[in-house]
Amino acid sequence: MTTVIENNQKNDRLEVGTPLLEVKDLHVEFHTRDGIAKAVNGVNYSVAAGETLAVLGESGSGKSVTAQTIMGILDMPPGKVTQGQILFRGQDMLTMGNEERRKIRGQKIAMIFQDALSALNPVLSVGYQLGEMFRVHQGASKKEAKEKAIELMDRVRIPAARQRVNDYPHQFSGGMRQRIMIAMALSLQPDLIIADEPTTALDVTVQAQVMDLLAELQAEYNMGLILITHDLGVVADVADKIAVMYAGRIVETAPVHELYANPAHPYTKGLLRSIPRLDQKGQELYAIKGLPPNLLKVPAGCAFNPRCDVATDLCRTEIPALHHVTDKDGKELTGRRSACHLWKETLHG
């Protein structure tokens, strides 16, 4: 059986490693009744073809807002992009016209949402919702679209796809629904997939299956993947590099294994310590004290300072830059950055 994706093989597919998306100094604000909430404050990251970037952070850290801004689905107002660029294949998407932007959505950049039950339309069959991609973007007929929907459902391993194509989202299990979301995002074989907490709403065994499927398909089609999550466990196996966000800023970036082995920011360190581990059975689980900051009044200096064990006076007054990180011999570690005044102590300490 030939799959939809092979049939659609694009000739402009990028080589692995070509820069695909670059977010440059992005600032996003929300104008609310209580004041201006600065949700994203100068975020920079990039993803190359075939690469997986995990964006890690608590709720309110700005990770989802950044993704929504890339996708162009941020509610504006109240949201507002005040500064920055989002370059997709070198073109700034923020200055594009609506129609040009729309054609990128779904075809070039696709998104997988957290809760597939609410993200799928409850009153339309999954076959219709999958087929819609082909009908709108490729002018496929109803019949062709349905056939392609069945192929897609087969591709993400939904059993008895042909019998189930006319079923509605509520008739599927949580894992199957998320597979349908993945199928929808993959349908036009985009260059980049943004997965916003794709497994948070699933139970643990299904989480692993869905992540494996996503990673497998990504490798097969050389797609870039931005994986947004607060779950460090999900990230470890699939991501190439990690960006940790806190209060609208990136506080640390690193290749995935280096970050796990040796974090360079106290916040990352805290996150890693709060993962339950088998060898600490019976001991109290560590938790980062305090709460994430209210975005309407972010603390002066480093936003993490009130919750940080090692904060100094400098941390309370001056916002740390995203420093390049070096090893003990002063050699720069590629891809590693930390927005901590005390990164040296944290890393080598």
Binding site: M111, F113, A119, L120, N121, V136, M184
Partner: protein, 308 residues
């Protein structure tokens, strides 16, 4: 599904019996004697009156009268009015006029109401939306008779666009004005319901998904937003079809439309039990049927609804 319909049809039987019984006895509670009224201001001749009463069966106990009325009803005999015409004839004369008027009003409220609701829901908080809120509130606040007379005076007498009253009840073009008046109240409700529903659903995750899929705005709204937003509106529309038939009574009076309302009004004035009961029985049937159709429509709109 089949069982659901069967059960609903069976449920209609007690409802139908109950409402007809209520109406039958209520008509008898009206003060005055319809037969004595035939003599006008003069005192009725007791012998003739008694003879008439016996002929109409009105000298029997009330329960007996009711049972024989219901017995006849089941064989399709709606009885005879005091002027000697079969009640069924009156119904078949008047009903098409009222159905036409009500459906006309229904069409207006659906098309105009949903369109206004959609646009204000999409532009929540903007000028158009605020205008809609004020205007619909006004429509809801103004009693239908007042609105009817105002419209009649302005368009019929001052502007002379139409005749103030309907000359030929079978001419659909003459029914435009009554239909607008009849539908106006429901139109306001439909517009508000649609607006709220749209404004709420536009923030729904599946609408965001539709945008993220790169669908054109027209498709996002038409396919994904509107259909989900119609569920509460359809609920309202279902009960409203019956209300329109009843509301037609007032509107028909204002515009002199020879429909059910007109006939029913006259029958109530004359205290003709058989005619009133017959008409109301018919209206009850229409109301029940409309309710059933709406319940079935739900499943078309929302596949999550299952009938058991």
């Amino acid at each position: 599904m089949g069982r659901f319909v069967a059960r609903r049809l069976l449920q209609m039987i007690p409802v139908f019996l109950g409402t007809t019984a209520l109406i039958f006895f209520m008509v008898h509670l009206l003060p005055g004697d319809p037969l004595a009224a035939l003599w006008g201001d003069k005192a009725p001749d007791p012998v003739q009156l008694a003879a008439l009463k016996h002929q109409q069966g009105l000298d029997q106990p009330l329960l007996q009268q009711y049972l024989s009325y219901m017995g006849n009803l089941l064989t399709g005999d709606f009885g005879t009015s005091l002027d000697g015409r079969p009640v069924l004839d009156k119904i078949t004369d008047a009903l098409p006029v009222t159905v036409r008027l009500a459906l006309f009003a229904f069409a207006i409220e659906i098309v105009v109401g949903i369109a206004i609701g959609l646009f204000s829901g999409l532009r929540r908080g903007k000028l158009f939306d605020k205008g809609t809120l004020v205007l619909t509130l006004l429509l809801i606040a103004i009693p239908v008779p007042v609105l009817g007379f105002v419209v009649q005076t302005v368009f019929g007498q001052n502007l002379k666009w139409v005749t103030p009253t309907v000359q030929d009840s079978n001419d659909i073009t003459q029914l435009v004005l009554p239909a607008v008046v009849l539908g106006s109240l429901s139109l306001a409700y439909v517009a508000r319901l649609t607006r709220t529903s749209i404004a709420e659903n536009i923030k729904a995750d599946y609408v965001r998904t539709a945008v993220a899929k790169g669908l054109p705005r027209r498709k996002v709204i038409g396919t994904h937003l509107l259909r989900n937003s119609m569920i509460p509106v359809v609920t309202y529309l279902g009960t409203d079809l019956g209300n329109l038939m009843a509301g037609a009574i007032v509107t028909e009076g204002i515009f002199n439309v020879q429909g059910v309302g007109h006939a029913l009004y006259q029958a109530i004035n004359m205290k003709e039990g058989a005619t009133v009961s017959g008409f109301v029985a018919f209206l009850v049937l229409v109301y029940l049927a409309a309710g059933l159709i709406v319940d079935l429509l739900y499943a078309v709109l929302d596949p999550r609804i299952r009938y058991a």
